[in-house]
Symmetry: C2
Subunit: 429 residues, 2 copies
Amino acid sequence: MKKYCDMTKNELRRELESQLKIYDSYKALSLCLDMSRGKPDINQLNLTENMLGILSSSDQCVLSGGLDCRNYGLLDGIPEAKQLFADILEVPRDNIIVGGNSSLNIMYDTVVRCMLYGSLKSFAPWVKQEGRIKFLCPVPGYDRHFGICASLGIEMINVPMTELGPDMETVERLVSEDPMIKGIWCVPKYSNPMGITYSEETVRRLARLKCAAPDFRIFWDNAYAVHDIYENEGDVLANIFDLAKEAGNPDIVYIFTSTSKISFPGSGISAIAASTDNINHIKSIMTYQTIGCDKLNMLRHILYFKNGEGIRAHMKKHAALLRPKFDMVLGIFESELDKLSIAKWTKPKGGYFISFDITCGSAKRVFELAALCGVTLTKVGDTFPYGKDPNDSNLRIAPSYPPINELETATRVLCCCVKIAALERLLDK
Amino acid sequence: MKKYCDMTKNELRRELESQLKIYDSYKALSLCLDMSRGKPDINQLNLTENMLGILSSSDQCVLSGGLDCRNYGLLDGIPEAKQLFADILEVPRDNIIVGGNSSLNIMYDTVVRCMLYGSLKSFAPWVKQEGRIKFLCPVPGYDRHFGICASLGIEMINVPMTELGPDMETVERLVSEDPMIKGIWCVPKYSNPMGITYSEETVRRLARLKCAAPDFRIFWDNAYAVHDIYENEGDVLANIFDLAKEAGNPDIVYIFTSTSKISFPGSGISAIAASTDNINHIKSIMTYQTIGCDKLNMLRHILYFKNGEGIRAHMKKHAALLRPKFDMVLGIFESELDKLSIAKWTKPKGGYFISFDITCGSAKRVFELAALCGVTLTKVGDTFPYGKDPNDSNLRIAPSYPPINELETATRVLCCCVKIAALERLLDK
């Protein structure tokens, strides 16, 4: 097959006709397929079935130190759960607060805390500072991060992602110039949606950032810390906690993670890790918000996983379920699209997403074509602040949730839609 | 025994000597007793042992509507859990959002939401309104309510509690005059710490409040909605949700509750109930904070309690454990103090507290004497905004946590300390 851009108008017309026939044949199937969200599928949920009832007697609820997990108390979580996250994040146990079922909730609350109280080195709460608070947003990125900013009236500034992470020259220049830039959102490992892992150099440069704002924070959403898909070839993320400390910049980073995609998406446990001063500052405010998060659910996780090693072993089971799905999608992209020069996509070694870039000005058209054919994709623009993809070219592919046969059909439909959209644009020129 | 105020100096001196001897004998026991917090005891925690492991298979996690409670989704909680709280609060199911393990957390978040976004009828977020936000605080009241205000810089105005609830004339006058008064904290049933229940007239007057602030809200912490101690003689609380609607004032109230003192204090489920417009407003903001709270824990509660009737039946078991403790404390107060005219106390029909008022200027001294004897009481002042009891006279007694024999000793120590403090003051005059 020729590249589309090398085809004559007549060839393009014939190819469009043939793709529209394929499209119509899919349409006739009345499909209802969803590739929109990074949700574990039912087989992944079943992996932790034995965790459900693992805590069943009162005796199990009392920790070796004597604390009864059923009762009130312990603002920052049970020591064993802190240790579990310490193992995953490679951060000292005392630098961890264990939260409830959602790291999104901790992230939102952390930004809110900065708005109302300031971060450790704020001269005033962010809402009381003259001018509009701004965050750097590496793009494409995670829609819910952008949602938090949008909701709180925080101005978002796009920073391009490279294969090594956010474009650090842009980041360094912007934060050094503007004291109203107070934060940057990062998904540093198997990033959402690109699936890339920040290089060690990128992490080092983030850790030693010189910011005009003394209360600037890196919001380090390490959601996919242990979420390798391919055994023995997972990405390695440099340790920003250690690097920031080494750089004399220990307070610059808030680290977040959860077990949402390890145990249960709605019923996992979450954590924030940060410098001792940050943690003490957070706890001094958090103590007005809650007496403590659900310790029995922490205990279930401890009883089931035991420690970080237990979690890593468990993640191999997730990998075994996800791997064929990623392989299938990537394989179809390669066979259907590789030679046409109309799309580029990432090939992640872990996480939940593939980032898919097509001819500028085509993404919305692809979304629409897919929707009309019963295939739901992540809304175009969701991977950008304000829901606006300036190039209308990025699609986020989430292969995890549909059963593999449905995923195959959905991917083929997607490829067909991508071809049609590209052909339409070429013919329209 | 004579009233202390009728005694001669000599009689007072002899009585003090004799009480000090008793005090010393307690001191020699090296006690370590805690009457400070409203925590369920271990027997109460054991009541729900069978709830711990009630959810043990994947099949149980799928609701009749097909929703898998293990996965992401459902911002406002599973319908069955909404119904459970609808039963308890006597509010329509659709007017409920089910939260995580802590109603304190929902209350804090609700105030924070008002600060950053405003309530439904705010012309601006509370932080952006000119002047300081103020809340009315019926006193004595719940320390953690006051903590939320203190933490957020909200000015607190004391309103005296009567036996019918907050002094409504004061409330009505203040809210009609000052548009910066945006809220009032209420524990309307078995109030913390008085254990009184607001009269129907009080609830009616609150429901039809005319406020200078269009965005004024009643924070209705119905923590003890089903927490009767004495069978067949529990207090009845008028339904503020219905009364506010009838009064054309449906949006004025946010209602909170939880199962913290029904199932497990650290691992229950919580709820907020409010008008449809309020609920939609809250959900429109909450959607940026979380994808949803822990649905598996909601499910455990449903499987165990089934419905409101199940909860009410279960609460009789709590009552059976609490009743002897309340009876014991009240009995000792009566026999040791009733004739001396140096203290007054409430006789609640439910809840977790007894409010104990002694000679003005004595509470701190009693706290200190008790502490020196190994008995921890709630910190004096904690039942007032800013930790300041203007009369230094209120003590909060929490009988639930200690085993009954320890509770007896602690109560006798307390009575002895109250006598000593009263005698010291009378001799000092």
